[in-house]
């Protein structure tokens, strides 16, 4: 904080000082010739100063702020190479820094907004710019340049002067200016290509600063080019125009930087809103997805949570394939080195890692909540699926058993009864004892057949599969103490008919029961009342839940009323 304050005050002082100097000796300054020039000098420098301070304040460990401040300082210090300067030291510094602004600004632009240069090429370009502009053009030229020889008799002493070789100094400077001209073009292209290669989201952030910066670097290249023929940075008509244009583009850079800070601040506000909103709707799954897709303007955004078994699911327990198959971009939200969620978004929507971090920390509570929700929902879905498989396998097995009983045991019993009766008729008249014995055998066989049919029907009522629920319920009613109040005509999916039938059958097994079943648009509604033993509901639930039913039961041992809605897809 104090460092920033100090730097700020220093640069402001520098600016005021530079103005005074420029004003008092307009011949040596592009700004000093008019009030407009002075104002331009001040506004351009101060806007960079303000942008730098704002950025530095918001992001203390980011190089962009200090670099903008440095550029602002160099901009003002460039006015020190003025005869009015008085101090030889400051005069010399002015000479050295007079060409340093483009390199410093290029650095700030290329490392915006993260404060780091992304590629080696950028690092080398910036290093080259600093070395050439400060080292070769600044210090290098100053070594052989005595202002007195060039006609500035009242200029302060050049502290770095080694030898007064005006011709050599001029050639040297021309070479350095030429190199800087080329460098500025290269830096401009680098800024442009960085912008073009960025994702749409990154482009929204980089755009304003990069465009203003590119224009500035282009203007800098032009003013270096204008100076090549002359060999030094001078103050001709073109120089003046270019200088004004550069100053305006500097103001644009500063404005772009400040605008970006405002954008981030607004995003923070929406993130705060997001957190508040999420806090309110913590109960329902999928709320983060909705809020984020609204915030980021991507309606198809998905939030995938890693499950403990390595799969991924959304907050509703819907399994998602990772990596995404539809070309969505995958952005991990990481906290404490652990991936808490994956964002699946339109390519480029989440280009800014800064935004991802903000989301990750803003929604940390909800992320945890929804991840656990996803875990629970997925497990529940797994369980339901396995319950469905078990019930289906059970039904198939029952059906197979029922067929086997009819095709095997029943046939044999009938043939046996047939054989007994034929034998009896062939034996002719028998004594009473034999007749009684044969009567007993026939009676037992008939009872066995009856028993077998009852067992087979209990195992699997063929009429349910053949004729449907209404017929099966009617048949059940004819067999037992069941009152069918209403039963829907027509057929339902087998799983629905089975579930409904088993529920009624289970009630009937324990005594009197009443059933009323109706078809509605949302599937089959069935209401059964009767008695169930304690825990009797659980077995029913297996069948009902396997068919996707929702159940409501009321009552107790005295009588249970169960209402279930079984959806038909």
């Amino acid at each position: 904080m104090q460092l920033r304050l100090l730097a700020g005050v220093l640069v402001v002082a520098l600016g005021v000082h530079a103005m005074v100097i420029a004003w008092s000796h307009p011949l040596f300054s592009l700004a000093g010739s008019s009030v407009v020039g002075l104002a331009t000098l001040l506004v351009a420098g101060l806007s960079l100063l303000v942008a730098g301070l704002v950025y530095w304040t918001r992001r203390a460990h980011n190089a962009v702020g200090p670099l903008l401040l440095a550029a602002s300082g160099a901009w003002f210090a460039g006015e020190w190479d003025n005869p009015e300067m008085g101090s030889s030291l400051l005069f010399t510094i002015g000479l050295v820094l007079s060409g340093a602004v483009p390199a410093l600004l290029a650095w700030a632009i290329l490392c915006f907004p993260r404060g780091r240069l992304d590629s080696l090429l950028m690092k080398w370009t910036i290093a080259a710019g600093l070395v050439v502009s400060i080292g070769i053009l600044g210090v290098g030229t100053v070594l052989w340049f005595d202002p007195a020889t060039t006609g500035c008799t009242d200029c302060p002493r050049n502290l770095l002067l080694i030898a007064d070789w005006p011709t050599f100094a001029e050639s040297w400077q021309r070479a350095a200016v030429t190199v800087m001209g080329g460098w500025a073009v290269a830096a401009m292209l680098l800024v442009g290509s960085r912008l073009l290669r960025a994702t749409p989201a990154q482009r929204r952030i980089l755009g304003p600063v990069s465009i203003a910066g590119g224009i500035y670097l282009g203007l800098a290249a032009a003013s270096f080019a204008v100076s090549i023929t002359r060999g030094f940075l001078g103050s001709g008509t073109w120089d003046e125009r270019l200088w004004f244009a550069e100053a305006i583009s500097m103001v644009a850079i500063a404005a772009a930087v400040i605008l970006d800070r405002i954008r981030v601040a607004r995003m923070r506000t929406s993130l705060v809103d997001l957190v508040l909103e999420l806090g309110r709707s913590l109960q329902t799954g999928g709320s983060l997805r909705q809020s984020l897709s609204r915030l980021l303007g991507d309606p198809g955004l998905l939030v995938a949570y890693p499950l403990t078994d390595g799969r991924y699911a959304d907050a509703n327990g819907q399994l998602l394939s990772i990596p995404p198959i539809d070309g969505r971009t995958l952005t991990p939200l990481v906290r404490d080195d652990r991936t808490v969620a994956l964002l699946l978004s339109k390519p480029g929507m989440l280009g800014s890692p800064e935004l991802v971090n903000e989301v990750s920390s803003a929604a940390s509570l909800v992320l945890d909540h929804e991840r656990l929700l996803a875990e629970v929902e997925t497990r529940t879905a797994d369980l339901t699926a396995s319950r469905v498989r078990i019930v289906e396998a059970g039904d198939a097995e029952r059906r197979r058993l029922e067929r086997n009983l009819h095709d095997g045991a029943q046939q044999r019993l009938i043939v046996l009864l047939l054989t007994v009766r034929r034998a009896r008729s062939q034996l002719g008249d028998l004594d009473d004892a034999s007749n009684r014995r044969l009567d007993e055998i026939e009676h037992e066989l008939t009872c066995a057949l009856e028993e077998l049919r009852r067992v087979a029907h209990g195992i699997y009522p063929a009429i349910l599969a053949d004729e449907g629920l209404a017929a099966a319920l009617d048949f059940l009613a004819s067999e037992s103490n069941l009152l069918v109040e209403t039963a829907p005509e027509g057929r339902f999916p087998p799983s629905v008919e089975h579930a409904a039938y088993w529920v009624v059958a289970e009630f009937v097994r324990h005594g009197r029961a009443t059933v009323s079943a109706t078809r509605r648009t949302d599937g089959l509604w069935i209401e059964v009342s009767g008695r169930l033993p304690s825990g009797g509901l659980i077995e029913l639930e297996d069948h009902l839940v396997a068919a996707g039913a929702s159940i409501r039961a009321e009552g107790g041992p005295g009588g249970v009323r169960l209402r279930a809605n079984i959806p038909c897809e």
Binding site: L418, I463, F475, T486
Partner: protein
């Protein structure tokens, strides 16, 4: 299969000519086409799926060969199967529980009655229908005696047979039957036709509101 062979032997013993036996529906249809019998005796369960092939085959025969009667053997007590068979063409058809075949007299009687153009429904099924608890159903309006008459009608008995079985005069039986027709709301038309409709009303009365 054992039962098929046993039945063929039993019927031959009882003086009924067995013109052929078939193992599945296509073979049955081929047999009926080549030498149409008086009655086809069909098991409701046939290969390959053992569900309803027999019932479907029976309906096809009734439809394509009206002069051929069909007696369906079933292991199901449910009347819906019988109803499906009877609603189509309610004559020359019968529906018996499978174990009934062990009672030669019943089986032969049923075959003869079907030959004569009657309908035969297994007495066990009819009894269950009559006893079934029901609501909003004209059958429940009948007196006990009328119900007895109706159930015998449903089994396919003639007026004379009903009178004999219930120890009633022919006139009394006729009076009961007329009363049944009235209570079931059957318009006067051919008596035979109304008899069948009365039986169908019984089979259809399933104790529930039609929704």
């Amino acid at each position: 299969m054992l039962l098929r062979e046993g039945l063929a032997r039993l019927l031959t013993d009882s003086g009924i000519e067995v013109v052929g036996t078939a193992v599945d529906a296509p073979m049955l249809m081929e047999l009926v086409r080549q030498q149409p019998p008086d009655v086809a005796l069909v098991d409701i369960k046939m290969p390959p799926t053992h569900t309803e092939e027999g019932l479907v085959a029976a309906q096809t025969i009734r439809h394509d060969y009206p002069e051929v009667g069909v007696l369906v053997l079933s292991q199901y007590l449910a009347p819906e199967y019988a109803l499906r068979l009877l609603s189509d063409v309610p004559e020359r058809v019968g529906y018996l529980l499978k174990e009934r075949v062990t009672d030669v007299a019943v089986l032969v009687d049923a075959l003869h009655r079907i030959c004569d153009g009657e309908c035969v429904v297994d007495p066990t099924i009819v009894r269950r229908l009559i006893q079934r608890p029901r609501r909003n159903d004209p059958v429940s309006e009948l007196t006990d005696r009328e119900r007895e008459v109706l159930s015998l009608m449903a089994e396919g008995r003639s007026n004379a047979a009903i009178g004999r079985l219930l120890y009633l005069s022919g006139k009394t039986v006729e009076a009961h039957i007329r009363q049944i027709f009235v209570r079931l709301g059957l318009e006067p038309s051919g008596d035979d036709h109304r008899r069948v409709l009365a039986v169908l009303a019984l089979l259809r009365s399933t104790g529930r509101e039609q929704s």
